[in-house]
């Protein structure tokens, strides 16, 4: 690991910016402004635009479709209720993911307290994921890729929630370090450190799963 702060700063500096369209952002801002004024129709547009992102993140973070559904609904309700506190200095998507990540953390903490509803109970095996994906039936995804996805899910499930969270935010939601820092409520400089550890963990787990598979 880099031993100095300067090394991590270099990592932060070399991190590429996310590919976000300015059009979407400005459109979101306009819709947010209208929603703030009480226009539920505008908020519905926002909902339709972002519910997939929220659900996907929640599903992969909580590994439960029911929880993810609850989280999705709760995320949008809270987002709407606290729109006044949304200053618009971040993307609306980041704002939603921040709320969503907090709710997911609450869910996972609640599960730890209530082991009878333990993590992975509803979808116990990676094979089930693979089958699920096959049922969804994406035409561009081949069988090998579906198997890989099952392995990725299994690996993610074996990771600590905090590491899984940062990995998903970076590699699935493709947030930049600033946005990840905002979602996680940490400093910008600590994001690459967390990401570095999460990646290492993921690589190790994934490698071991691959070996088991073979």
């Amino acid at each position: 690991m880099p031993t100095t702060m300067a090394a991590w700063q270099k990592v932060v500096a070399t991190n590429p910016e996310p590919a976000a369209t300015a059009d979407d952002d400005s459109n979101d801002r306009e819709l947010v402004a209208r929603s703030r004024a009480g226009d539920l129709a505008a908020f519905e547009v926002l909902y339709r635009r972002h519910e997939g992102t929220v659900f996907r993140f929640a599903l992969r973070q909580t590994d439960s479709a029911d929880d993810a559904d609850d989280v999705r609904q709760e995320t949008f309700v809270r987002a709407y209720q606290s729109l006044a506190r949304y200053r618009g200095d971040a993307r609306f998507r980041t704002y939603l993911l921040t709320i969503c990540a907090n709710l997911c953390r609450d869910r996972l903490r609640g599960r730890l307290r209530r082991p009878e509803r333990g993590y992975g109970l509803e979808l116990p095996e990676g094979v089930a994921f693979a089958a699920g994906d096959a049922r969804v039936g994406c035409p561009v995804v081949g069988l090998e890729r579906a198997a890989d996805a099952a392995l990725v899910r299994a690996a993610l499930r074996q990771m600590p929630p905090a590491a899984r969270e940062v990995l998903l935010l970076r590699h699935v939601e493709e947030l930049d370090f600033d946005e990840i820092a905002r979602v996680l409520g940490c400093t910008r400089l600590s994001v690459p450190v967390r990401l570095f550890r999460a990646r290492n963990r993921f690589r190790e787990v994934f490698a071991s799963l691959t070996r088991d598979e073979s």
Binding site: M1, P2, T3, A7, W8, K10, V11, T14, P16, S35, R36, G38, L40, F43, E44, Y47, R48, E51, G52, F55, R56, L59, A65, D66, A68, D69, R72, Q73, F76, V77, R78, Y80, Q81, S82, L83, A84, R113, G132, V136, C138, V141, R145, D148, A149, L151, V152, R153, A155, L167, H171, V172, E174, P192, F196, R199, F202, R203, F206, A207, T210
Partner: protein
């Protein structure tokens, strides 16, 4: 370790490298260069490549949103029920046991807060309101004349130049008034350590006629700062038109307490050769230091001489005023060593005050020019050159140190060297002027003054009385309730350990046990009741520990050292401890007080470490025509210790005699002629062994040691006689004469009187001039303090 360190800078970039997203060419080159030589990292890159590819593919997969279609309607229904901008409703409490901890711990912390507040308040936190707020500020007239460019000038100098600051440190303040009209001014002297609110302030009224210069000696006391590194003294002149300030910083030297100091009052400066080594072993002594003062600047209060051991009067001392003579006399009474130099031409010895102090009869003086080698000053070693010597007749009660027999074998009455004891001090008549240039050029001058100092050294040293007083312990409290519990000086507050134990029992026993019991009973909700009850009981118990202090009244008690003479004159050095039960501004007046000083040390040894008085404390002394009053401001109930020095008249003295016996014991006769009951009396004897050591006694400079004889209680008019008194304690004569007194007084309940016993000659076996060198310590009740002010 080495490999890890080498891989360290590269590893954070391996993921991007494996992904192919590492865009920085330099970094990529570095990674590639590293990979070429590191198999471990190559393997890691290979693994990472597979993992990253799988993760990328995984990210591209759509979520399973089809299984849980988005339900906007349900969201909309909730949003309409709870519209935006409304505060989010708190999450419904989980049905867990955790919230029960809140009342338990909450009340526990409340109890701690109440308990700590109780102790803190009872601990007399919150110092006083400070003297600065009362400071008088004169308005500056806007039309003050342009001609007055330098209307007033203020200059401040130590009275004894070259003297290190110690004890009461007299300063000479000169005020030049060039305003063309008389100035009614106020001198304000502040002593402190740059701590706001912690200061001693002295105020002196001074009237300066137009076009004249006024001189004033001020007496800031540095005792409280002794042992610290620095004290700041600021002298300000507050005039009707402006304020002029002179700040002085004094650095303390730790070695200064070890100095023997001479003060010289006369026309010469540097005539005592300044500083020289004592020739005794280093463990017995260190330096001599000399401070010089012009006669007109000599202190007019006895405390002004507190910082010196010996006062040498020389030519020019005839300009001393009667007030200065009185101060010198009082200082000698309390343990000063006065050296009167003559050698012809010492006109000051004709002054009635000097004649009163002198051990010889001035009218009988005659000058004789000695021949080389023909005259010496035994026991002093004298120089080989001729110098004028004055001989005089010895007064009754004094004795000659240089008795010589004439050719007929008869003792001569006239002597150039005589000593008398006065109170606790001594006066030496030196029939030569050892301040002449010839003497200063003489190589033996150091030893000469060393011997003079040894001879003139009193048994009790004035400058140490303050230390002795600090070690004295009061015996009775005035104004307090009769019971010990109502005496604020005897109220014991809980120690830190007690308080901590109290809280430990509360937190580690009472609260957990309650918690466990309630949990077993499945009645955790009762914690809402048991928690507050426990807290109130705890806080109440803490308050009970301090209730005695809160119910105490305004009280005071006094302790210290009283130094008396056979004629009834006495000087007191000591302190009064005051307890103020409420906030207010209090005026403290001790009749005849020469100084007040607020002690920084703890004034209540019983109150425990949890009751600090706070750092802020101040005392303002006002000097109005010689009558000193002090003002103490307290912001809460508070203890204060104020040192004061004063002169008293006991109406009679303590007389007696001490006669040595061949068996090493003494015959003691002491009669109490004062109107007081003497308690815990003890004799202080400075015994000169004459070169013969008496058993295993440690013998100090000059072959002398301090012996004390316990006497007990003497009522007025009573006599104490003992045929064979034993020494109860024999203490070594330390380098500065410090330990004997302190150790003795510390073991005797005080106030203490050191009275003079006019004794008989103890004979050559022990020492020829020890005869009247005996003192008595007695208990003594002091005049009461006067308090005014104080707001309810």
């Amino acid at each position: 370790m080495f490999g890890w360190n080498r891989c360290g800078p590269v590893r954070p970039h391996l993921w991007e490298y494996a992904e192919g997203t590492l865009e920085d060419g330099t970094l990529r080159a570095r990674v590639e260069q590293h990979l070429a030589g590191c198999a471990r990292c190559r393997a890691e890159v290979a693994e990472t490549r597979r993992a990253a590819a799988a993760l990328t593919g995984f990210a591209a997969l759509p979520a399973q949103s089809a299984e849980r279609p988005a339900n906007w309607e349900s969201v909309r229904a909730r949003l309409e029920a709870a519209p935006a901008e409304a505060p989010a409703p708190p999450p419904a409490p989980q049905p867990t046991r955790r919230p029960v901890l809140v009342p338990v711990l909450g009340t526990a912390f409340a109890a701690v807060a109440v308990g700590v507040a109780t102790v803190a308040v009872s601990g007399l936190l919150g110092g006083d309101s400070g003297g600065r707020s009362q400071q008088v500020t004169y308005a500056v007239p806007s039309t003050y004349g342009a001609a007055d460019r330098s209307p007033v000038r203020l200059s401040v100098d130590p009275v004894f130049t070259m003297l290190p600051p110690r004890g009461t440190f007299p300063l000479r303040v000169k005020v030049e008034n060039q305003t063309g009209k008389a100035q009614q001014a106020r001198l304000v002297v502040e002593v402190g350590r740059n701590v706001p609110g912690e200061e001693q302030r002295y105020e002196y009224e001074i009237n300066v006629p137009a076009g004249e210069t006024a001189r004033r000696i001020v007496y800031p006391s540095l005792n409280a700062y002794y042992g610290s590194n620095m004290a700041n003294v600021t002298v300000r002149g507050q005039f009707p038109t402006r304020s002029v300030g002179v700040p002085i910083n004094y650095n303390y030297n730790a070695a200064s307490g070890n100095h023997r100091t001479f003060g010289y009052v006369g026309d010469g400066v540097g005539v005592l050769a300044g500083k020289w080594r004592d020739r005794r072993p280093p463990e017995e002594n260190s330096f001599y230091t000399v401070g010089y003062a012009k006669p007109e600047d000599a202190p007019d209060r006895a405390i002004g001489y507190d910082s010196i051991d010996y006062l040498v009067l020389g030519r020019g001392a005839e300009r001393l005023r009667s007030g200065q003579w009185r101060a010198i006399r009082q200082w000698v009474l309390s343990g000063g060593g006065l050296i009167l130099t003559d050698g012809g031409g010492a006109a000051y010895l004709n002054a009635p005050e000097a004649a009163d102090l002198s051990p010889v009869i001035p009218a009988t003086r005659s000058v004789r020019n000695s021949m080389i080698g023909a005259t010496s000053l035994p026991p002093l070693s004298a120089p080989g050159f001729a110098f004028p010597i004055t001989l005089a007749d010895v007064k009754p009660g004094a004795h000659s140190l240089s008795q010589r027999r004439n050719r007929a074998g008869q003792e001569r009455d006239r002597t150039p060297l005589a000593l008398r004891r006065l109170g606790a001090g001594s006066v030496l008549y030196l029939g030569c002027d050892a301040t002449t240039p010839e003497f200063r050029a003489w190589g033996g001058v150091e030893g000469f003054w060393t011997q003079v100092g040894d001879i003139a050294r009193p048994a009790v040293v004035a400058k140490d009385l303050r230390t002795a007083a600090a070690l004295s312990r009061p015996v009775a409290t005035t104004g307090a309730a009769a019971t010990a519990t109502g005496d604020p000086f005897r109220v014991s507050l809980p120690s830190v350990a007690t308080v901590l134990n109290f809280f430990a029992v509360y937190f580690l026993f009472a609260v957990p046990v309650t918690f466990v019991v309630l949990k077993r009973l499945r009645r955790m909700e009762w914690a809402w009741a048991t928690g507050p009850v426990l807290a109130v009981v705890t806080a109440g118990s803490m308050a009970l520990l301090t209730v005695n202090l809160y119910s105490a009244k305004l009280s005071r008690r006094t302790a210290g050292v009283l130094v008396g003479t056979a004629t009834g004159e006495a000087r007191f050095v000591g302190y009064t401890e005051l307890f103020f039960p409420r906030a207010g501004s209090f005026r403290v007046a001790v009749p005849g007080a020469e100084e007040y000083e607020l002690s920084i040390e703890d004034s209540n040894p019983n109150r425990g470490p949890l009751t600090p008085e706070g750092a802020r404390r101040s005392l303002v002394t006002t000097d109005a025509g010689g009558e000193l009053t002090a003002r103490v401001d307290v912001a809460n109930l508070a203890f204060r210790r104020i040192y004061h020095t004063q002169t008293l008249n006991l109406g009679g003295g303590v007389r007696g005699s001490v006669t040595p016996l061949p068996n090493g014991k003494w015959r003691v006769d002491v009669r109490n002629e004062t109107d007081r009951t003497i308690e815990n009396a003890a004799l202080f004897l400075r015994v000169r062994s004459g070169g013969r050591r008496n058993g295993p006694r440690p013998v100090g400079p000059g072959g002398a040691y301090i012996a004390t004889i316990s006497i007990g209680t003497l009522k007025p008019g009573a006599e104490y006689r003992k045929a064979e008194a034993s020494e109860t304690d024999v203490l070594p004569w330390t380098s500065n004469g410090y330990l004997p007194l302190v150790q003795q007084v510390a073991s005797v309940p005080s106030p203490v009187l050191l009275g003079q016993v006019s004794g008989e000659d103890l004979g050559p076996g022990i020492g020829q001039w020890v005869g009247d060198n005996a003192s008595v310590t007695v208990a003594f009740d002091l005049p009461e303090l006067v308090e005014e002010g104080g707001r309810p």
